[in-house]
Amino acid sequence: MINIPSTIKISVRALRVNKMRSALTMLGIIIGVGAVITMLAVGTGARQKIGEQIASMGSNLLIVLPGATTSGGARMGAGSQMTLSMGDAEAILKECPAVQTVAPNLGGVAQVISGNQNWSTGVTGTTPGMLVVRDWQISEGRSFTDDDVRGATKVCLLGQTVVENLFGSIYSIGQVVRIKNVPFTVIGVLDRKGQSPNGQDQDDTIWIPVTTAQKKIFGTTFPGMVRIVMVKARSTEDLPAAEEQIKELLRQRHRIGQKQDDDFTVRNLTQMMQAAEQSARIMALLLGSIAGVSLLVGGIGIMNIMLVSVTERTREIGIRMAVGAKTWDIRLQFLIEALILSLIGGGIGILFGVSGSQVLSTIAGWPTIVSPFSIFLAFSFSGVVGIFFGFYPAMKASLLDPIEALRYE
């Protein structure tokens, strides 16, 4: 039987009488909600960027690196020894059931010349499997084939950055580029991939058949050696199994005894990304607790002002009680007032949060994403704050003695 529209009207009028006070009271909520929105935007943005980077590296990716050499007691770091061969790569593909594709890599930096342009870039010798492993597409032309690998043909695929630097707007397919003075025919252009998680330009690359790299560009001491082997597992769930299978297989192939260290390392990039995501989550949690504190302070501000308001309007409450307002009529009136304060504060806070996130991404260059869920969350949170902190003053108002209240000056 409580008349909600009239109660809302009464509350709005009461708030409008003290505009400045209402605005200041809202400030706490505005800051709190603004912080919540910004915090969620930064968190979501960071997570999405990390996700994109994982995807750009290639999903379910394992990298097999050669082990460390020891030279005069000083260990030289992973990859300083060439212990992986084409045979290892083929064996991994054949004998590890959790593995979908492999791509042996042998690369280095080389000077590349085309016509009167030249450019220094990373040249990677690999197999067609690389496209699958790295989830990479060909944007123009075609990929090289297993026949190219077998025949060590002099064909290459160019990354977008290389195309821009060597050819500009000229159509590059069919042109000849010279890598370390060896002429290669451009047969395809790789799709744009953007930055890697550590900030490298992934498009600054040239792919050639791995055999060509071994024989013509990066002559190796032992024929058939490769720098690293990239492996794509069948699924995310298969990653640990694939890792185990590869380790087992390579220990066998490299004849490593029970007590000897591996001469290779298997890295799980997805796990590394998940660690990065974890740290982003901790950052968000930290910002979240700041937002929580300011919402709490804002809530206390609302409670404070509502208590003042109840005292100021004691006589009004008395009049309402005398003409028949029941406990919940009075309680609801003050609750709605607190709720309106917190919800308007929440609404303004959302605007501030959204523009704050935009400013952050413009000025600081952080990726921010304001999700509808975060807006919903912040808005309902401010509503909860209003009800929670408005309840005590509303309770106090509704329990006033009407005679005392009417006599109040």
């Binding site: 039987m1 008349n3 529209p5 009239s6 109660t7 009028r13 009488v17 006589r315 009004e316 008395g318 009049i319 309402r320 009680m321 005398a322 003409v323 028949g324 307002a325 029941k326 406990t327 919940w328 009529d329 009407p402 005679i403 009417l406």
Partner: protein, 230 residues
């Protein structure tokens, strides 16, 4: 059945260690349509009596039934409902809501009995018309004279068609001419609409408008007789 049946009610306040007997076994019946003036010095218990009549306060002992309903056993909200439907209050200080138009002040009791908004406006306007304030619906209390403000308060008391109006020194803040006008309004409402009016006053010429006068002294009714017309 009398409108008000009061049987041996007492009210004891505790002030520190001392018990104050504000009302001391008062028994009174008031019928529908009566016009009663209650007189007495301050501290005589008349205000306490009015508060109990108005269901704002409960007696310490004794029985009070209003239109046959025993008020003693009712909860806070049930008392509020009784005040809403059966009692109209008129106060010395008018007690209107400031920053609220005359019409909305009169609408106030109807906010608490679930009347739809469109009915409220019409009934409030009719009540204002009845007290001679049509055309002033949108004036705020600070734009109205004392007499006009008291008329708004009377309209508010009338709007739920309560059978009983309790007026606590309704002319205490008004000049003689305006006081007479207000008292004539009460007389007219009493005569035309058969509304029971109970008013508290200090002044004999105000009490003279009533039909029955009660005098309180030290928490007791010391005289109860038809009003002597001057």
């Amino acid at each position: 059945m009398p409108l008000i049946e009061i049987n041996d009610i007492s009210k004891i306040y505790r002030l520190g260690d001392i018990d104050v007997n504000a009302l001391n076994s008062v028994s009174i019946n008031i019928d529908k349509g009566e016009f009663v003036a209650i007189m007495g010095q301050s501290g005589s218990g008349k205000s306490t009596f009015m508060n109990i009549l108005g269901c704002l306060d409960k007696p310490t002992s004794g029985r009070y039934s209003l239109e046959g309903v025993d008020v003693a056993g009712l909860t806070r909200d049930e008392l509020a409902a009784i005040r809403n439907k059966k009692i109209g209050f008129v106060f010395q200080g008018f007690n209107l809501l400031s920053r609220t138009s005359a019409l909305e002040n009169v609408e106030l009791p109807m906010l608490y009995n679930g009347l739809p908004a469109r009915d409220r406006k019409g009934r409030a306007a009719a009540a204002l018309d009845k007290v001679g304030l049509s055309g002033r619906e949108n004036h705020h209390p600070n734009q109205l004279s004392g007499g006009q403000q008291q008329r708004v308060a009377i309209a508010r008391a009338l709007v739920n068609e309560a059978p009983l109006i309790l007026a606590d020194e309704p002319t205490g803040n008004l000049d003689t001419k305006t006081s007479t006008e207000i008292m004539e309004l009460f007389v007219r409402l009493n005569a035309e609409s058969n509304i029971t009016v109970i008013l508290v006053t200090h002044e004999h010429d105000i009490a003279a408008f009533s039909k029955r006068t009660m005098k309180f002294l030290d928490g007791r009714v010391v005289s109860d007789s038809p009003t002597i017309k001057l």
